[in-house]
């Protein structure tokens, strides 16, 4: 062992192993060749450019890259399109051999490699030569630590390859490998960290957390799954957004500060991110479908297929049907971008009847049925005169009843006409479908910034018809809704109403109730749910309007509310029927 002790190579190696525990012996039979991976993590993330690979200049660039090459390429090719911010570059592998005449007579032999070979050959050569140079400078002594330290420091500014603008150019052939490495390294760093989840308030390891792609807030996967699964199940799409308070506000502030004022920051979460969290494929699928459906439904110009068993939407350029989960994201985004044009399109589309004939051709995206968007017959060519289908005639009694009920107890959103029924609270409403703020009493648009102005005195002293009426109908509109409504006579919803439940309320009772009404305070709809007796909570509403049918109507309507997610347009007349009648009554040639 005295021999070992004397051997300076062993002394040096044992101290190197102590300092860099990740050092490894390259070959089992050679104790004096070691390898070490040195991470290249610049102090600030660098912007890496991948110049478009023109077939002929790809080669020379790869061969003689380096600072000179970068400058030249930068000059000839000013449009760096493909740039990415990278925090971790693939690490450098050092291979050091301490020969048997080291350190006295022989410098260490050094080989440097990277995978992929993104480092320009010149830089590699220079780094390799630094070993012998330092060894000389130290007076031919043990140089191992000094050298490794030197390479580590050089790695911090990426060996001087980064220009003053913080950009680095790399051969595009290595693009995927480099970006991949960066993602993995970032992920590894993230997983080592600990975060306090803002929802469950527990500290969680990064590996159990998810960082929101758009805003960077971190929550634990469990809470995100719980929340989003629940929101998507309930159809509350607007809730599928970052869970941090004021997140969107802060980002829009940051954006307007940086001068980009044009667009609101994206608040919803892309399906692909939901899958990353991860959420079930099924759930994400539902999210995509629902999102697409609300998008269609909030567009008044959407045309639906007349086939009664189909009811699919007609193909449109604006709303692309999501194909699988990935494409849906693109369609979402395009939908968002075009939102600005929507009003535009709506005003154009208003006079639907005067659409140029060729544009009346609609093709169902579900069943590919080609039909006329005006008369809802199968497509008859451009040169046939047709008339729009008739509306709101020949409704069945049920449909009529539903319509009546909706007229009485719902208020349409002024933007998308989705009916809203208030269950409780004040008359400032926000449409569940398109988020428009409106007044429940008169359906007027309200300024989201100051919605209550409508119920107050205007600055000019004038008042609207809804002055001081913010809290009218506080307990809900209709006697089958409200805070305390426990399900009522109709629940569970899908059950068919037994004939007996369709109440025969003696007219005297109603009159009696009405008289009561005049004398007493309005009662909250709560207590007596068992007996489906007609109750009226709206002063000034004519009894005749409601009629004896009312309790039954409510049930129907409630069923509909529940069905609304699944089936569209319950109360629409079957256009098919219409078409048949129309054909009989007119003399149109069907081609």
């Amino acid at each position: 062992m005295a021999d070992d002790f004397d051997n300076p190579r062993d002394i040096e190696l044992s101290s190197l192993y102590a300092i860099y525990p990740e050092i490894q012996q390259l070959r089992p039979d050679d104790a004096y060749t070691v390898t070490l991976d040195i991470p290249v993590t610049p102090s600030k993330p660098v912007t890496v450019f991948f110049p478009a690979a023109a077939p002929d200049d790809a080669l020379p660039l790869g061969a003689n890259g380096g600072p000179a090459g970068v400058a030249a390429a930068g000059a000839t090719e000013p449009n760096h399109v493909d740039s990415h911010e990278v925090a971790h570059l693939p690490s450098i592998r050092l291979e050091i051999t301490f020969g048997h005449r080291y350190p006295a007579e022989q410098p260490p032999q050094i080989a440097i490699s990277t995978n992929p070979p993104w480092l320009p050959a010149e830089t590699v050569e220079q780094l390799e030569n630094d070993g012998p140079r330092l060894w000389e400078e130290m007076g031919r002594d043990m140089v191992g630590f000094t050298y490794i330290d030197h390479v580590q420091q050089a790695a911090e500014n990426v060996f001087g390859l980064v220009d003053e603008k913080g950009t680095l150019e790399v051969d595009p052939r290595h693009k995927i490998a480099i970006l991949d490495y960066d993602i993995k390294a970032r992920k590894a760093a993230f997983e080592k960290e600990t975060f306090n989840c803002g929802v469950c308030l527990d500290p969680k390891k990064g590996s159990l957390c998810h960082r929101m792609l758009d805003c960077g807030h971190v929550f634990c996967v469990e809470c995100l799954q719980d929340f989003y699964n629940n929101a998507i199940k309930e159809g509350d799409l607007a809730a599928v957004r970052c869970l941090a308070p004021n997140c969107a506000k802060e980002r829009s502030k940051a954006m307007s500060a940086s001068g980009k004022k044009r667009k609101k920051p994206r608040t919803f979460i892309s399906p692909s991110e939901l899958l990353q969290i991860p959420l079930d494929q099924e759930t994400v699928k539902r999210y995509v479908t629902l999102k697409y459906k609300t998008e269609l439904e909030s567009d008044k110009n959407t045309v639906y297929c007349p086939r009664p068993w189909c009811h699919g939407a007609a193909r449109s350029k604006k709303h692309k049907k999501p194909q699988g989960l990935d494409l849906a994201e693109a369609s979402d985004e395009s939908g968002l971008e075009e939102e600005d044009d929507e009003d535009h399109a709506a005003s154009e589309g208003k006079s639907e009847t005067y659409k140029p004939a060729a544009e009346r051709l609609a093709i169902c995206e579900e069943c590919s049925f080609a039909f006329c968007s005006r008369c809802y017959q199968s497509w008859h060519g451009e040169f046939v005169r047709c008339t729009p289908r008739r509306d709101k005639e020949e409704l069945t009694a049920e449909e009529q009843a539903s319509l009546e009920y909706m007229k009485l107890h719902t208020t349409p959103c002024p933007t998308c006409e989705a009916p809203a029924q208030k269950s409780h609270g004040c008359n400032h409403m926000i449409c569940y479908r398109c988020q428009t703020h409106f007044c429940y009493l008169c359906s007027a648009w309200l300024d989201p910034g100051n919605p209550y102005q409508h119920f107050n005195e205007m600055p000019n002293g004038r008042v609207t018809g809804c002055y001081m009426r913010l809290w009218e109908l506080e307990m809900g509109d209709g006697d089958d809704v409200g805070y305390d409504f426990a399900g009522g006579p109709g629940a569970p919803a899908r059950e068919v109403v037994p004939a007996a439940a369709v109440v025969d309320v003696p007219i005297e009772d109603i009159i009696h109730e009405l008289e009561d009404f005049g004398e007493e305070e309005v009662q909250p709809a709560a207590p007596q749910q068992q007996d489906p007796v007609l109750r009226i909570n709206r002063p000034g509403q004519a009894v005749e309007d409601m009629g004896l049918e009312k309790p039954r109507i409510n049930l129907l309507w409630r069923q509909q509310l529940l069905l609304i997610e699944e089936e569209r347009d319950q109360d629409e007349i079957s256009p098919w029927q219409e078409v048949e009648e129309y054909r009989e009554g007119t003399d149109v040639k069907v081609q």
């Binding site: 803002g198 869970l243 001081m468 913010l470 809290w471 309005v522």
Partner: protein, 177 residues
């Protein structure tokens, strides 16, 4: 459930370092979904010297759904209904604004901030808001008299219990008093 654990945490945090001027108690130790908060009227405001009861009800799916917060002590304020319900208009409690990572302590602080600085432009009681803007003296007088009448003495937490006065659940907003 995760909900219980989080509530327990928040409760511990709020009892050990309660928001300014507040004390928090559970009316029923086995139910951490209902909190009784006693808020001292902030100094330098018309509410100073009064003690207000606030009832915090946490839904079972808290924090996914917003808590509901009501005053059980009547208070003369543009943003609190002038009845025995004591509903509060607070932006961050609206379902569409609620974020699961909002904390109760910040909600309670927001309630207190509302007493320090009423928001007459976003009122629940339009008449009181108008009075606040146009006749501040009268408003101050009314608010103080409410404090004298309702917010002195032991704090009550049962809402609507036996309180007399104009408070009915009538439908006409802002009509009270």
């Amino acid at each position: 459930m995760a909900s219980q654990k989080r509530i327990a945490k928040e409760l511990a945090e709020c009892t050990s370092s309660p928001p300014q001027g507040m004390t928090i108690k559970l009316p029923n130790d086995s139910d951490i979904h209902k909190w009784h908060v006693t808020l001292e009227g902030p100094e330098g405001t018309v509410y100073a010297g009064g003690k207000f009861g606030i009832i915090v009800s946490l839904p079972t799916d808290y924090p996914f759904k917003a808590p509901s917060i009501t005053f059980s002590t009547r208070i003369y304020h543009p943003n609190v209904t002038n009845d025995s319900l004591g509903n509060i208009c607070l932006g961050l409690l609206k379902p569409e604004n609620w974020k699961p990572s909002s904390r109760l302590s910040s909600v309670l602080e927001a309630v207190r901030a509302l007493l320090v600085e009423p928001q007459p432009d976003d009122p629940l009681e339009a008449r009181i808001a108008d009075e606040y803007r146009q006749d501040r003296k009268e408003f101050d007088k009314n608010a103080r008299s409410y404090v004298q009448r309702y917010a002195k003495g032991p704090v009550k937490f049962e809402s609507g219990g036996g309180e007399s006065g104009g408070g009915s659940t009538s439908n006409t907003g802002g009509g009270g008093n």
